[in-house]
């Protein structure tokens, strides 16, 4: 029996260390983003934002004394890979929660698995079908394409314009935006007089725009992202079409103005307040949040995009929910995300509920216009 003491001591130490290790075990947040492929410049901002803020949170001591570990994969904008990587996040990496999904296609593809495995998922994509109908475990932070369409129509109505020509790309973002524009048109008293398409990698859209020129359209709406909307904008100027041009929130970045150059003057679009943060009145509760995010991001990586902002919103909503739930228990965290009220993010003020898994209203969108090579808020 003389070896009893050392053995007991050893055993106690072992148990203690195991216990300590488990207490300090990090909270795992999984992410799948489009880091390469057509939507890569959206996913790029999202990933950088997530990485920067996870680092930041950990430097400040983590959540409830536990560090956050971010595990991310690149889907390349391919839904098949999104499904496989989400399975990997759930089964192999055993993450506690998922924030990700750059495109609507990627997000929709993983929903069956997320629901089956009961894991909270905050999507960063715009499609309204992600949260409508409401799915128990699925949330999202960006404005929907339906809100963008409504906002554009609202502005057109203010200007007394009712005949619109649509020109859209062939990606998921473009197509579902186009669908919402068609659906909402009667409600706002709009007549669609032309409905044209292009491929997102096309180099010239003058053929489609020539057709539009021959109609009696009073305004043109172009729903898309990437380089194509900039080409559309330039082609409109080339053809001498003097109609007001509306773009979608997909091009709300400095890059669009750089690419389209002079042709971008006068282009209007609905965008999150992030692009015009400095122009907000000081009384706006969003202003400090926006300036803080913008300052931090631009100090490290260069110009912000609203898409990075959506990742910020998603991560912060998740972290706050984990904080309130007292840990990463999936059922509790899900409940707390659903109870998010008055959270001030870059996209607006979030008020979620069991019926609304996004929690933004139309006020969160601002109509902005390009003037002298910069975004200006339209009053």
């Amino acid at each position: 029996m003389k070896n009893l003491w050392p053995t007991t001591l050893l055993a106690t130490l072992l148990l203690a260390s195991v216990h300590l290790a488990s207490a300090a075990e990090p909270i795992k947040i999984g992410s799948f983003l489009t880091i390469t492929g057509p939507a890569s410049f959206l996913g790029d901002h999202e990933l950088k934002t997530l990485q920067m803020y996870v680092e930041d949170i950990n430097a400040k001591g983590g959540v409830k004394g536990r560090k956050i570990e971010l595990i991310h994969y690149d889907t390349g904008g391919n839904a098949k890979d999104a499904v496989s990587f989400v399975k990997r996040l759930i089964k192999n990496d055993k993450v506690d929660l998922i924030v990700g999904g750059t495109t609507t296609g990627d997000s929709m593809a993983v929903i069956p698995d997320v629901e089956k495995e009961s894991i909270p998922f905050i999507s960063l994509a715009g499609g309204v079908e992600i949260v409508e109908p409401v799915k128990k475990w699925v949330f999202k932070t960006p404005h929907t394409d339906r809100m963008a369409a409504a906002k554009i129509y609202e502005d057109l109505r203010k200007r007394g314009l009712t005949k619109v020509a649509l020109i859209s790309g062939d990606g998921g973002f473009d197509k579902s935006g186009h669908e919402q524009l068609l659906k909402l048109a009667p409600q706002y008293g709009m007549t669609i007089v032309a409905d044209e398409f292009y491929g997102n990698k096309d180099s010239d859209m003058t053929a489609q725009l020539t057709k539009i020129r021959a109609t009696d359209a009073q305004a043109i709406i172009n729903f898309g992202f990437g380089q194509a909307p900039a080409i559309v904008t330039k082609n409109i100027k080339q053809l001498g079409i003097a109609l007001p041009l509306y773009q979608s929130h997909g091009v709300a970045s400095k890059n669009f103005i750089e690419l389209a150059g002079d042709a971008a003057e006068g282009v209007r679009l609905p965008a999150a307040a992030l692009v015009i943060a400095e122009q907000l009145p000081n009384t706006d509760p969003q202003k400090p949040v926006l300036l803080a995010y913008k300052g931090k991001y631009e100090a490290k990586y260069g110009p912000v995009s609203t898409f990075g902002g959506h990742a910020y919103d998603g991560l912060m909503i998740a972290v706050a929910a984990i904080q309130r739930a007292g840990g990463p228990d999936k059922e509790k965290v899900r409940g707390e995300i659903e109870k998010t009220k008055g959270f001030i993010g870059t996209a607006g003020v979030f008020n979620m509920s069991p019926q609304d898994h996004m929690g933004l209203n139309l006020d969160a969108f601002k109509i902005v216009e390009v003037r002298n090579g910069a975004w200006k808020i339209v009053e």
Binding site: T36, S203, D204, A207, K211
Partner: protein, 291 residues
């Protein structure tokens, strides 16, 4: 209506000349080695992105364009030396997969160097559209058109008038025979890669002000250039131009007159029909049957 149709034709020809310019590079390497170089689109991207980066460093545009072309030629030579030459003797399909690998590699390099954003070059002679009848065209499109015509002439003369060009062609017809008559096949092959990389870079620099560029820009341009080269009859520089313009016109006309959503499908349906009736493209060699 007539005015519209005229604009469609103008659009088709300007877009088609982009495809033709890219297609020329395919014809060149094919002529030397029977291989379709899937990294050709990446040469186009590399030329554009290098020129943009150099311009950003403060070089004047003409100098940036020349240096970018030289850089692309160097990359073409290195690719031949370190990826194509070690695999000599391998089948054509194996070589094609190597060029696919090279394309992915070059895209990866561009991604690391220049990130994921889109970049543009300023147009060479301004943005003010030129009116032709009822149609408008950008000055940059005229640059593309002009340089395409010039380069086709040069490539054609190279293959038909110079000893070097004829030697290059000989390599593709029969490598062993070429070697026997004293042609250094290895040097010829390297020359072909260098030249077509240079051609690609020039195309990229000319196109960038119209379509912008990004690390992925080569994929689509490569696809269209490949289609142009094949439809025209691969290996024939004139054919590449004819194929490119045909493809451009088909796209513009189907977008304008039939359906803009299905324009690519209509264009390729037409291409398939052409191939069913002309199995070696519009101007291809009617090769003898191998026994």
């Amino acid at each position: 209506m007539l005015e519209q149709l005229f604009q469609f034709l103008v659009t088709g020809i300007t877009v088609g000349s982009l495809y033709a310019l890219v297609g020329l590079g395919f014809a060149l390497i094919y002529n030397a080695s029977d291989v379709v170089n899937f990294a050709q689109g990446e040469f186009v991207m590399l030329g554009a992105m290098t020129a943009i980066a150099l311009l950003g460093m403060g070089l004047p545009l003409p100098l940036a364009a020349i240096v970018a072309t030289l850089v692309a030629i160097l990359v073409g030579l290195l690719l031949e030396r370190f990826a194509i030459e070690p695999a000599r003797g391998a089948s054509v399909v194996t070589t094609i997969i190597i060029t696919i690998g090279a394309a992915i590699f070059l895209r990866g390099v561009a991604l690391l160097l220049w990130g994921k954003g889109f970049h543009t070059l300023p147009p060479f002679s301004g943005d003010a559209p030129i009116h032709l009848g009822g149609a408008t065209v950008l000055p940059q499109s005229l640059w593309v058109l002009g340089v395409t015509v010039l380069l086709v002439g040069l490539v054609h003369a190279f293959f038909n008038r110079t000893l070097l060009g004829k030697a290059l062609l000989a390599c593709s017809f029969n490598r062993v025979a070429a070697q026997l008559v004293g042609i250094n096949v290895r040097v010829m092959l390297r020359l072909a890669y260098g030249l077509s990389a240079g051609l690609g870079a020039i195309a990229g620099i000319l196109i960038a002000p119209i379509t912008f560029s990004s690390y992925e820009a080569g994929v689509m341009l490569g696809l269209k250039g490949f289609s142009a080269a094949i439809v025209g009859g691969i290996g024939n520089p004139m054919g590449a131009v004819a194929g490119g313009v045909l493809l451009g016109l088909l796209e513009a006309l189907s977008a304008g007159l039939i359906s803009s959503g299905y324009k690519d499908a209509i264009a390729f349906l037409f291409v398939l029909t052409v191939l069913f009736f002309e199995p070696t493209g519009l101007f291809g060699h009617k090769a003898a049957e191998r026994v």
